[in-house]
Symmetry: C2
Subunit: 420 residues, 2 copies
């Protein structure tokens, strides 16, 4: 019986051609981030289940991959087993929660402020669909320990530079502030503890529309009048108009900071990308406490980066709060976009195939290969096939630019494969 | 209540300093591999449990991290639950089994022969101890589709070059052949199906010694006389002496191939490393079918790479067998060695801190930062602290080479921090 050789549901294999593009993307992004003083770190893929389940992961908590206990810890004879009896670890569903744990755990080794780069796999047991996977790459920068808005400005402009380096031209940064939204929500008579839940529902606007959000809020037992007013206020607020904003008790410094970030980023963008206030911008996570942002590709009509300030998360792990802001690039989406537009990775190194005739030629051909490799060339060594012209055709298909034949210890001149 | 912020048992966080060394190692290895015509691929971290449990993973199967089923598939009300009822996925325990699945699944997109590079995390629920982790990096090259010993030669010499690029000088390649060992075992009256099990026990020689191996074989119910003869034969065979070898019915082509690989690699090594036959070399996995190899650092007295030929694994996934050889670098061990010897990563880029005085200076300081970044410098931007000299001390500690102050939109000259 042959075994199923497909990758597990919702996951994907990466063939060399795709890997080239992904590695180029990763290098391009990380090089840009490093120039802005960010430093790479990494956390384990598996975390204690306690850490994950007690997080503010919202809907992601329903999508956790949980790992079975092992050895004596696993007692299947117990009655009324639940998942907590069975599992003690889980796969991380994002890089932000692990970063906060990491920061607390390693603070003595980290500079202050700490500017982190993270790229890595995360896992969510989503229903697989086009462009949505169960294992996917996240690519984040975060600044911990900087309370001033220079953190927001650096994150936005650095992320924009990374997108430009990835060849994106036509994009818009959207910005909002959770506190602004919170003021609006509170001014309409909702309670403090309802803000998170309202935001989570509102975030589904682009998927289920205004009616869908209304339906979900009513299902959550909110008062219909309040909900209607709330949704109407969103229309009202577009454009940061001061008179309108005055109606909703929005704090002056929240407003000033938003305006300042918008002005500075606009100045830095030099007209090559846009930044605009968007009161309907929510971002899913319940943990955001201040400004939130998203970058939309106008060309592809889709979000390609998102982030925001989360000043209260690290305080859950240690005595003091530490201000924190993060920005995450939509790596998988960008990969799909570049792939679909047949983007070509800059690749200049010549691939050379060296063919040897008999086993007696091996030492000579290996010397030759090493000489060419030390000149920076990519060299593969192959035994000569009986069907030589078929072998040459295959090498051409595999993008070898030249071949060289080694026969009786003699090296023939390299021959171009593209001219054959 | 504060949450435990340590990483999960047996796993580790990677701080920037360690990450720099690891990333340099990875780049150095991959660049060497690429020059020899190998191409990067990647497989998911999670695989269908069926694939993992039906593999020849030997003891690794006892160390699987299994993932709980989700949603309706998980039925906790069933009586006499076992792990297969509860789990449908597992974390990969190596990169070789996933590669074989990958090769079958993606064959139409791959060249023939296919030379693969894989680096990635693998997971084993081992008892954690110094240098042994539950999540660790593997770093493999494999050649699929090449039956001649040029595959072995290219893998050994390429791996040796990677180790040299990692600054290793004093190492020895040990080589053996499973078929040679098999001939010895069969000539002593063991059965064909006992070979794998004997090899697995023998592989523990360096951990439990000759007596420990003997004990384990007796516990496996092998005949004591046979076991004693078998262990004695290992001493007998050291040195590839033809007269001795003749006693054990070793096939001529097995012997010739071993001698040829040893001669060619010796010639390529140019005296900078060694290769020698070692009949006691086993390598743990049951799937090896031909030559097996290991590289030992004489300086550190420890194995730093291992691999071998496994011509029968891909045939478990598809109709035809495909010849395959792999070589894996001990990434974590090498990382520990380099770290313990305070190895310094070649790092030439200057780190510059730009300090701005008031919010009015932000645009000017950001322009300055971007100019320096486009010259290739690493630049971080910070607001000026009230305690300026303390801030400077911190920047020095964080290895910033220069700082620049921006005040009232005016840029001061960059000042060296090392001279302060």
């Amino acid at each position: 019986m042959k075994i199923n050789t497909a990758s597990a549901k919702g996951t994907f294999d990466i063939i060399p051609q795709d890997m080239n593009l992904r590695e180029w993307m990763k290098k391009t992004i990380i090089d840009t981030y490093k120039k802005s003083g960010f430093e790479q770190i990494e956390t384990p893929s598996i975390e204690n289940l306690d850490l994950l389940t007690k997080s503010e992961g919202g809907e992601n908590l329903n999508l956790l991959f949980k790992i079975l206990k092992r050895g004596e810890k696993l007692d299947l004879s117990k009655e009324n087993l639940n998942e907590d009896d069975l599992c003690d670890l889980g796969l991380r569903y994002d890089l932000t929660l692990p970063l906060s744990r990491f920061y607390t755990n390693n603070r003595e080794h980290l500079p202050n402020p700490f500017k982190a780069i993270q790229t890595g796999w995360v896992w969510r047991a989503e229903r697989p669909q086009k462009g949505r996977f169960r294992q996917f790459t996240q690519c984040d920068i975060d600044i911990m320990g900087e309370k001033s808005e220079i953190a927001e400005i650096e994150l936005i402009t650095t992320t924009a530079r990374a997108l430009q380096a990835l060849s994106f031209k036509n994009f818009t940064v959207k910005i909002n502030d959770r506190r602004l939204l919170k003021s609006v929500i509170l001014s309409l008579g909702f309670k403090d503890e309802e803000v998170g839940s309202l935001c989570i529902s509102l975030d589904k606007m682009d998927k289920v529309g205004m009616e869908g959000v209304k339906k979900e809020l009513l299902a959550k037992d909110y008062d219909e009048d309040q909900v209607t007013k709330f949704l109407a206020s969103l229309e009202d607020l577009k454009g940061l108009d001061e008179k309108t904003l005055a109606k909703y008790n929005i704090e002056e410094d929240v407003l000033q900071s938003l305006k300042n970030v918008i002005a500075v980023v606009k100045n830095q963008a030099k007209g090559q990308y846009d930044i605009e206030f968007d009161v309907t911008l929510i971002r899913g996570m319940g943990y955001y406490t201040g400004q939130i942002f998203e970058i939309v590709s106008n060309e592809f009509g889709s979000s390609i980066a998102g982030g925001g300030r989360y000043d209260k998360m690290i305080g859950r792990f240690q005595k003091e709060d530490v201000p924190a802001v993060g920005f995450s690039i939509g790596f998988e989406r960008i990969f799909q976009m570049l792939k679909e537009t047949n983007f070509e990775v800059p690749e200049s190194v010549e691939k050379i195939a060296l063919i040897f005739n008999t086993n007696e030629d091996i030492n000579a051909v290996l010397e030759w290969a090493n000489d060419l490799r030390s000149e920076g060339k990519i060299v593969s060594v192959f035994p000569k096939h009986k069907k030589f012209s078929k072998q040459m055709n295959n090498l051409q298909k595999q993008n070898f630019g030249f071949y060289g034949l080694c026969s009786n210890g003699e090296k023939e001149e390299l021959t171009s494969l593209s001219q054959e």
